[in-house]
Structure formats: structure tokens, C-alpha cells
């Protein structure tokens, strides 16, 4: 007789088949009501989180200078819906946010503060959804703590107050993750419907959302291959993918018909390992100066200690937590690979959809440690988050700040016989939002703003500069968003004209004043 040694091994715990929840009885509903009443602390933390977000917004961010991307949002949504769709199709984004923003501005006002409030609403709406997602992975106390960290996040605070689609992307991603987690644990039809709906909305919110969907698809495929989910789940996922494909096809065709954004794609280098690590550094610590950021990311070996500390008895990776890890890293990794293989588009703000998952992963790690160590680390995380937010808001050298308001105020010293030259040309939008001076404003390279932004030709630059300078006394040269020729322009001016003043209103922004005309005698004493 042979004996199967494997029969001595009880099979590893296999998740039991999931069943739809039975319809609750009146008694059970009563119990649920009592439980709801016990959620006062949860409600209180929610209110605290909402208050933190609003406070942060009012205190430091809502009144900050308009940024380039915001100026673009305002300019685009100033047009009719039809023209707006054409502008977005010629751009590198999908239209849902812009359509909603235009509607919002028509109802509540056209200014930048009103536009930013629209983004703030999405961040506020993301608060309860984050809690719901976190509760699927963490205990109640840890999920509540995570909510506070979420609210204090410098990265979220920044983009929650920017007139762009990123807070909307966070909100939609969280909704998608909530339904996806329900799908992989309970598999109810309602969850699938919610998931499909969120996928449709997300696909029209930001292109990066497709990486979120891809990660979810890969994860679900892995579960099916490992026989943790029935094949029917894969069929449903394919159906959702097909539905998204059908929904996005009209836009895709329209996008292709309008040039595939060939003239408006940002000129970005292929991302490096530094860019990849900076994404997570900015997620956790916000936008800090190079010195601070470099110091922080250099301590990456501590992740090795964290990896060792995560080895704990009975600390199994359950299905929800495994997905959170996937959600925190795979979309960013996919974007990194695609940026190398297809076209570079690796910007940390595009990856914002991965931030909530990263927070949950970090909190889960802390919760799995011994109580004193875990709580200490959690407190440190909160302290670092708050510090990052405060420093980001207060530090004028924060790299993400673009103070076109200050630049415009400086340029208002220009007189009618002077000229303001903006380079790169598309930065004229945020500048013009604030500029109320007497001097003429033009761009270098020259741009009529009817066609795509012009390319730089070093051979024609001297002629263009001389043409701009002719008949003027001073050139107020505003340099920002280097497209690869900023130094050429700077060197030409420095070699040919007298620099009379220079200042840097914010990192990456330079205001240089050159004397180009001597027909006007200076008053005695100047």
C-alpha cells in the first residue's frame, strides 16, 4: 500500500465560494441601525478630514497664483462645448473634466478660485470613498487614522486646489477600487455594475485611468489563473473592458481625426529611476526642494528593513491587500514602461491615482507591526505628512509653484515703449491672466495662438529678437517651462543686450530686464 504524503497536508486555506449577501430581515436592519449609531467616531473623523482639507485650501492654496495648466483649463473652458471638445481632442486629455468645469463656471463664475473649488469638491467627495476602501483592508481605527493622513497629504492638498482633473481622477479611482474590491471578494452583480460605471467615467477622466483598469484586469486574471475566482469573473471583466472600449471609441476616433495631439504633447524626457522614485517621494512628502527630496529618497535602504519587518507570523496577504499593493505600484510601473517604449509622459501628477493605495499599503504595514512600533511609525507618518504639507505651502522654493502673478506684477513696471516677451510661448496664458500693464506682450518664438505652438529655430531666433526689440527701450523677458531652447534665448540676450534687472518669482521662472534701445535719455540720477 502506498501512502500519499500530501494527504497528511491539509490543503492550504482556500477562500470559500463567495455568496451574495441574503436580504436582511427587519431585526437585522434594526441591529444595523444601532450599529450606525455607534459610528459617531467615524463621522467625527470624516468631519475632521473634511475640515483639514478645507482649512488647508483656504489657508495656503486657494489664493495661490494661477499655474500654466490651470490657465489652459480656463482658456479651454472659455469656449463653447463644441469648440471645447475640439480643443481637448487636440490636447493630450479626455474631455469629461473640462465639460463639467465649463458647466460649473457658467453657473458659479469664471474666475480661477471658482474653478479650483470644483476640484476641491472632488477631493472632499473622495474622503468617504477613501474610508470605504480603507475599511476593506484595515481595521476601523487604522482606517480612521488613514483618513486623517489622506486629508493632510501634501500631494492631494495641492491638486485638490488646482483647476485640473487630478482630484476628480482620485475620486473616480477610489470609487472604481471600492467596487473592484467588492467584485473580487463578493462578486455581486451590483458591484459589477458599479465597477463598470466607474470604469466608464474614469476612462473619460484621464488617460492614466487605463493603467488603473489594466492593473485591475491583470490582478483579476491572476486570481482566475490561481483558481481563486471562477472563470465567470474573467468573462465579466472582459465585458467591462469591451464596454469601456465601445464607450471610448468615438472619442478616440475624434482624437485621431484632430491630429492625435501631435502639436500639443509636452516635451518630456524618458523617465529615469529618479523620476520613478520621485513619484512616491512626492506622494508621501509633497513637493519639496531638491535638497530635501534628494536626502529623503536616498534613505531608500530603510525599505529593506521594512521588508524584513513585514515578515510576521500569520501575516497573510489577503486578497484586498494584495490588490492594494498592485494598485500602488503596477499602474506607475506600466506608465514608466510605456514612457520608455512609446512616448514619454511620466509626470507625478498623472500617477495620483496610485496615491490612496500607497497610503493604505503603508498603513497596513504599520498595523501589522507590534503595537508600540506600529503606532510610533504611524505617528511619524502623520507628522511627516503634516510637515510636508506645511513646508510645501510655505517654502517659496517649492518646485511646483509657478508665481505668474508675481511675474505679471513685476512686468507691470514696463511702459508703453517697452515690450514683454514670454518664452515658452504657451506660458503667455497664465501671465496674461494677471497682467494689466501698458506694454505690449508677445512671445518668443512668435506665436499667433491660432495655430499650434511654434517650434524653435535657432537660425531665425536672432532676427525674431531684433524684430521684437526694434522700437522699444526695454525687453521684459519672462522665461519658464524650458522646451529645450531657453538657454539659447538666454545666451543670445546676455551676449547682445545689457541686463538691467533679474529676479526669480518662483522656481523655474525668471524675469530678466534687458535694455535694447538707447534713444531715450535717462533722467539725471537714474
Amino acid at each position: 500500500m502506498a501512502i500519499d504524503l500530501q494527504s497528511r497536508v491539509r490543503p492550504a486555506d482556500v477562500p470559500t465560494a463567495v455568496h451574495a449577501a441574503p436580504t436582511p430581515s427587519p431585526w437585522a436592519r434594526g441591529i444595523a441601525a444601532v450599529r450606525r449609531a455607534r459610528r459617531a467616531p467615524v463621522v467625527a473623523v470624516h468631519l475632521l478630514a473634511l475640515g483639514i482639507i478645507v482649512l488647508g485650501s483656504r489657508t495656503a492654496l486657494l489664493d495661490k497664483s494661477i499655474r500654466l495648466d490651470e490657465a489652459q483649463s480656463l482658456w479651454q473652458t472659455d469656449h463653447s462645448y463644441g469648440y471645447l471638445l475640439r480643443l481637448i481632442a487636440e490636447d493630450v486629455h479626455v474631455p469629461l473634466y473640462h465639460v463639467l468645469l465649463r458647466t460649473w463656471r457658467l453657473v458659479f463664475g469664471p474666475d480661477i478660485v471658482t474653478a479650483r473649488l470644483f476640484s476641491l469638491i472632488f477631493l472632499l467627495a473622495a474622503v468617504p470613498v477613501f474610508y470605504a476602501v480603507a475599511r476593506k483592508c484595515l481595521s476601523r481605527p487604522w482606517a480612521m487614522f488613514g483618513l486623517v493622513v489622506f486629508a493632510c497629504s501634501p500631494f492631494l492638498q495641492w491638486y485638490g486646489d488646482e483647476a485640473r482633473m487630478y482630484s476628480m481622477l482620485v475620486f473616480v479611482t477610489l470609487v472604481s477600487q471600492y467596487f473592484f474590491l467588492t467584485v473580487v471578494t463578493a462578486g455581486t452583480t451590483r458591484a459589477w455594475v458599479g465597477y463598470a460605471g466607474a470604469a466608464l467615467v474614469g476612462a473619460y477622466t484621464h488617460y492614466f485611468f487605463f493603467f488603473v483598469l489594466a492593473s485591475q484586469g491583470l490582478y483579476l486574471l491572476g486570481l482566475v489563473l490561481a483558481r481563486r475566482l471562477p472563470r465567470g469573473a474573467l468573462v465579466r471583466m472582459v465585458a467591462v473592458a469591451a464596454l469601456v472600449g465601445v464607450a471610448i471609441t468615438p472619442w478616440y476616433l475624434y482624437f485621431r481625426a484632430n491630429g492625435s495631439a501631435s502639436g500639443t504633447r509636452p516635451s518630456l524626457p524618458s523617465p529615469s529611476s529618479v523620476d520613478y522614485s520621485n513619484v512616491y517621494s512626492q506622494f508621501l512628502f509633497g513637493f519639496q526642494s531638491d535638497a530635501i527630496n534628494t536626502t529623503v529618497v536616498s534613505t531608500w535602504p530603510l525599505l529593506v528593513l521594512a521588508a524584513l519587518a513585514s515578515v510576521r507570523v500569520a501575516n497573510r496577504l489577503d486578497r484586498t491587500m494584495a490588490y492594494m499593493i498592485v494598485a500602488a505600484f503596477v499602474p506607475v510601473l506600466l506608465a514608466f514602461v510605456v514612457s520608455h517604449l512609446v512616448s514619454p509622459f511620466f509626470l507625478s501628477r498623472y500617477m495620483i491615482a496610485a496615491l490612496p493605495a500607497l497610503l493604505i499599503v503603508v498603513l497596513r504595514f504599520c498595523s501589522a507591526l507590534s503595537r508600540p512600533v506600529g503606532r510610533t511609525l504611524a505617528v511619524c507618518l502623520l507628522a511627516v505628512t503634516i510637515t510636508g504639507t506645511v513646508v510645501q505651502a510655505a517654502d517659496p522654493a517649492s518646485p511646483v509653484k509657478e508665481d505668474y502673478r508675481a511675474a505679471a506684477e513685476l512686468a507691470e513696471a514696463a511702459r508703453p515703449q517697452d515690450v514683454v516677451v514670454i518664452s515658452s510661448p504657451f506660458t503667455i496664458y497664465p501671465f496674461e491672466y494677471y497682467y494689466d500693464g501698458a506694454a505690449k506682450v508677445t512671445t518668443l518664438p512668435e506665436w499667433n495662438r491660432q495655430e499650434a505652438a511654434p517650434s524653435f529655430d535657432p537660425a531665425t531666433m536672432p532676427a525674431q529678437v531684433q524684430s521684437l526689440a526694434a522700437g522699444h527701450q526695454y525687453v521684459y523677458l519672462l522665461l519658464s517651462y524650458d522646451q529645450g531652447y531657453e538657454d539659447d534665448i538666454y545666451q543670445y540676450f546676455a551676449s547682445n543686450y545689457e541686463l538691467t534687472a533679474s529676479t526669480s518669482p518662483s522656481p523655474g521662472l525668471r524675469m530678466l530686464v534687458y535694455r535694447v534701445g538707447y534713444s531715450e535719455a535717462l533722467p539725471v540720477g537714474d
Binding site: M1, A2, I3, D4, L5, Q6, R8, V9, R10, P11, A12, S25, W27, A28, I31, A226, S272, S273, V274, Y276, S277, T294, T295, V297, S298, T299, W300, P301, L302, L303, V304, L305, A307, L308, A309, S310, V311, R312, V313, A314, N315, R316, L317
Partner: protein, 548 residues
């Protein structure tokens, strides 16, 4: 029927993890393949993709990475699958001698083991023997053991001629007994009633040499040391031994094993020339074509070393014995072993070379801080992008293959044992004798004695790190390279913290946590009663070479 929801029972809320989980590992080959692939990619990248720095440091780094790569590949290969079907006869009834090796253990411990041995069910004749080495080892209670044997009506074989330690004790018994099979229990390893019925049937195969079962520590939750010792055992007696059994490389572990007399006699008896006599005897038996099997079922329960000194001695003994196998009985050169067996024995023994590797890794940040020299020149983040995923999946595979029974403390203790391993290596290379003693199994009152003397090297490392940090900071300020190496220093210090804490003294807690009750089938005599006699003053660490 009432639909009122019932609150979960307290037992459900406070249920401890199942301590037999470590036996229920099911291989996930996707993760194993991924682990190996990432390890190979990392090693290739670190070897060829970066500009080389200091050549000596680079050579040292490559040596360490190759060692890690070999260990990872070897581990994944070992745990790739479990042993499958083996011939088994449930009616097997050949006579069996039960040897209980005794060398000074408290009488009550030996009594419990003996009573349990007498209570074992088996269709054939069973004779229980107490192998009493107390006299030759100079233990005071050797007469009490003889009295115990009389009380329980078992045979006591008291050696009068020393030599060979436990192996010699067993060989002495073999010369005075005649059953075709024998099983061995340490004095504290209490067998279950079904030990013989679960084990002996494998000898229906004519070429079966021995059968090994797990060593389960019933006092695993007693303190930090017992917990760590047990956590380390789960990896070995879980996926590793199951995998070795698949490769016909499961080796004897000194207790809880059944052996065919003719097989061990053909191999020259239990090897008396090596501290790890069981390991080496297994190799000799495999050389002769005998087979072995590991039964992944807890059939006996023993005691873990319960203080740092005993743990340290145990680890030293295992290290010394295993390293001797490499340098004196190189498995790669042994005829009669299959390729798989040669590699498996080499893998098991070479694990104890990791002390050299670990200290090399730990010294790299210090060398940089003191001299500015590095093994490679690359962006620290590029290295991070490759190393961090490799490390995380490596550790996850470790967790998963142990069925989540492994722990950070177990890893930390293993990594912190570098001085112990270096000392043992030096002793092997210089052929110095070292004394080794039976591991004390008595318990303390919860207080931790002071064994900081055993972790002086770790403390020296910390001090050296502080000095090196000051030098490095003075040289280049808070540069990214300095921060990265400071972080590495913190990693190595963090790993050493549990080890140092375990060696440091502490007061007894106000309330003790009681030892977990014996699990599995209880002996007929009832639950095991462990001695609570406090031990004598801790002996001087047996680190100095002993004169013969």
C-alpha cells in the same frame, strides 16, 4: 429559529494561530520562478550594468551576491514540490527498540518521555531503553535515571566508557540491543501514541534507511528565545525538509527519528567524529544507497532552548558540525550520492557560511563612510529600483513557503549570528576542538540573564558605525551617498536589535504567560508536566577551544 445575530465567541476572537500551519505549505511555483528570475536579473545587473568601483570591494560584493543567488535558487528548487507517494504498510510489526538519550536532564522530564514511549501503540514488540550518559558526562543524577528505569520497568544502559557524545551513546546501545529497527528520542521529546504506527510502515521498502519527523517545541510561546527558535524550525521542518524528502535528501535530525539498524551499521554506526553526527551519518547512509523519508506530521513534542546561551550553543554546534561536512566530507566529491543529494547536502551545510557573507555586506557601508570607496558607481535610485523589488519578493516567497509561520525575529537572529558562524568557521579551519554541551531545558522565572558578552561583536559594529558616520559626515556632509549608506547602517543595526535585546538582562514580568499545553494526542500519563526548577547559574559560554 431565532435570527438574532450571535456575537462571536471569545475563543474565536482570541484563537491563536494553528501551530501546525508550517506543515501545510503548498508550492506556488509562479512565485518561486519569479523569485529566481528577479534574483538572476539583480545579480546580472549588479555585476555588469554598473561602473565598477573599488575592485576589492566589487569582488566582495559579487561574491556575496553570488552566494545569495545560489542560496535562493537552491531554496526555490528545494521547496519546488513536496514528497509524494511512498510505500507504506500500516500493519508493519517488526520489533523496534526505543532509545531515549539522557545526559543530565531533570528526572521528571525523562519520566514523561519514557511514559509516553511506553504508551505508544504498535502491533509489534517494542523495547524502551534509557541511554544514560550521566555517568560519563559527570552529571549528578545518573543514578536517579537508573532508578527511574527501574520504576518504569524499562532498561537503562548506563555508559561507563566516555567518547562520541550522543553518537557514542547510541552506538553503545546498538551494541547491546538487537531489534532490526530503533527510534531515537531526546530526553525532552515526548512521543505521541501513534508515533510508531505513523512511522514504521515506511520500512516496508527494503531500501528505507531512516524516517524523520518534525521537532515541535511545546514551549514555543514561553519567551522570545523559544519563539524565535520555533519560528526558525518552521521553515526547516516545513517546506525545506518536505522538499528534501522529495529529493531523497531528508537527513536525520537527532531525535524523533526511526532508523534501520542494518543501514546505520553498514554506514559504520552513528558518526562519532562530528558534532552534527546525525547529519553526517545520514550522508554516509545515502552514499550507500539507503533511502530516507520525512513525515510532515508532529508525532513528538519537545522543548526549545529557553535562554540565549542555550540557543547560542545550539546554533554553534549546528554550525560547526555543518561546516565540517563541507571541509572534511565535501558532499560534491562523495561517490554514491545522486546529484540532487550532493547539492542538497552542500546547500544545507553552506548555509552556515552566510556569516561571512553577512559581515561583508554589513561592512560595505562602514568602508564607504570611512574611506569613500564603493564597490559600484551608480545612481542610488537605479540600484533601489532593482534591489527593492528583489528583496520584497524574496521575503514574500520566504513567508509564503513557510505558510506564514516565519518571522522577522527569526530572520534577525539568523542574520545576527555572523560572529558565531565566523568563530565556528575558524575552529573548523584550524581544527580546534570546541566543547559542546547538552542544551539545558530548564526554565527561568521569566527574568532574562545577562548574556551581553555574547553580542559584543554586534555592539562593536554599532560603535564602529557611529565612528564611521562621523568620519563620513565630516568628509562629505549630508550627500545622497552618505544618506544611503547611513540608511544601510541603520538596516544592519535594526537587524541586530532583537538579537541584542534577547541577550540583554531583564527583570521577571509581574505575571507569567503559562507554557502552552501539549498539543496532539496526549500521553497516557496525562498532560506533560515540565520541570520548573530554576537552573544553576549560567555556565561560561562554550566559545573557547576546549582542550582534549
Amino acid at each position: 429559529m431565532s435570527r438574532r445575530p450571535v456575537a462571536p465567541s471569545p475563543s474565536a476572537l482570541t484563537r491563536a494561530p494553528d501551530p501546525h500551519t508550517f506543515l501545510r505549505y503548498v508550492p506556488n511555483r509562479a512565485f518561486l520562478v519569479g523569485n529566481v528570475v528577479l534574483a538572476c536579473v539583480y545579480t546580472l545587473v549588479i555585476s555588469f550594468a554598473f561602473e565598477h568601483g573599488n575592485p576589492v570591494l566589487f569582488a566582495a560584493l559579487i561574491a556575496t551576491e553570488l552566494f545569495h543567488l545560489v542560496q535562493i535558487i537552491g531554496y526555490c528548487w528545494t521547496v519546488w514540490g513536496r514528497d509524494a507517494r511512498r510505500a507504506f504498510d500500516p500493519g508493519f510489526a517488526a520489533p523496534v527498540d526505543v532509545f531515549i538519550t539522557v545526559c543530565g536532564e531533570p528526572v521528571e522530564i525523562v519520566r514523561a518521555t519514557t511514559q509516553a514511549a511506553l504508551a505508544m501503540r504498535y502491533p509489534g514488540p517494542v523495547a524502551v531503553y534509557l541511554l544514560n550518559d550521566g555517568l560519563v558526562a559527570g552529571k549528578d543524577n545518573w543514578r536517579e535515571i537508573e532508578q527511574l528505569a527501574d520504576d518504569l520497568d524499562v532498561t537503562c544502559l548506563t555508559r561507563v566508557t566516555p567518547g562520541g557524545a550522543k553518537a557514542g551513546n547510541i552506538n553503545h546501545a546498538l551494541s547491546r540491543t538487537d531489534s532490526p529497527f530503533f527510534v531515537v528520542f531526546d530526553a525532552d521529546h515526548v512521543p505521541h501514541e501513534d508515533f510508531l504506527t505513523e512511522v514504521m510502515g515506511f520500512f516496508v521498502a527494503e531500501d528505507m534507511g531512516f524516517v524523520q519527523t518534525p521537532q515541535f517545541y511545546v514551549n514555543q510561546d514561553q519567551n522570545r528565545i523559544t519563539r524565535v527558535a520555533w519560528d526558525q524550525q518552521t521553515l526547516f521542518f516545513g517546506p525545506i525538509m518536505a522538499g528534501k524528502s522529495r529529493l531523497d535528501s531528508a537527513f536525520m535530525c537527532g531525535t524523533n527519528m526511526a532508523v534501520r539498524r542494518s543501514a546505520v551499521l553498514e554506514a559504520g554506526g552513528m558518526c562519532e567524529e562530528n558534532i552534527a553526527e546525525d547529519f553526517l551519518t545520514s550522508l554516509f547512509m545515502h552514499e550507500l544507497g539507503w533511502k530516507s523519508v520525512y513525515v510532515p506530521k508532529v508525532l513528538a513534542e519537545g522543548l526549545a532552548p529557553d535562554d540565549f546561551l542555550n540557543y547560542y550553543k545550539q546554533q554553534f554546534r549546528w554550525t560547526r558540525g555543518s561546516l565540517e561536512v563541507i571541509f572534511k566530507y565535501n558532499p560534491l566529491l562523495r561517490r554514491g550520492l545522486t546529484v540532487g543529494q550532493r547539492l542538497q547536502y552542500l546547500l544545507s551545510a553552506s548555509y552556515y557560511l552566510s556569516g561571512s557573507i553577512i559581515i561583508l555586506d554589513a561592512l560595505l557601508p562602514i568602508v564607504f563612510l570611512l574611506t569613500g570607496q564603493t564597490p559600484v558607481v551608480t545612481s542610488t535610485m537605479t540600484l533601489a529600483l532593482i534591489f527593492v523589488p528583489y528583496m520584497w519578493i524574496n521575503l514574500y516567497v520566504l513567508q509564503r513557503t513557510s505558510n506564514f509561520t516565519y518571522s522577522f525575529q527569526a530572520i534577525a537572529f539568523s542574520l545576527s549570528a555572523w560572529w558565531l558562524q565566523l568563530t565556528a568557521l575558524a575552529a573548523v579551519l584550524t581544527n580546534r576542538k570546541t566543547s559542546f554541551a547538552v542544551t539545558s531545558k530548564s526554565t527561568h522565572d521569566g527574568a532574562r540573564p545577562n548574556f551581553l558578552r555574547l553580542v559584543v561583536p554586534q555592539l562593536v559594529y554599532v560603535a564602529l558605525g557611529v565612528v564611521a558616520l562621523a568620519v563620513g559626515a565630516a568628509r562629505e556632509g549630508l550627500s545622497p551617498s552618505l544618506m544611503a549608506n547611513l540608511a544601510w547602517l541603520a538596516v544592519h543595526v535594526g537587524i541586530a536589535v532583537p538579537f541584542v535585546i534577547a541577550a540583554s538582562p531583564s527583570r521577571s514580568p509581574r505575571s507569567h504567560r503559562s507554557a502552552r499545553p501539549a498539543l496532539g494526542s496526549a500521553p497516557a500519563a496525562g498532560p506533560v508536566a515540565r520541570s520548573t526548577t530554576s537552573s544553576a547559574a549560567p555556565a561560561t559560554p562554550a566559545l573557547q577551544p576546549a582542550n582534549d
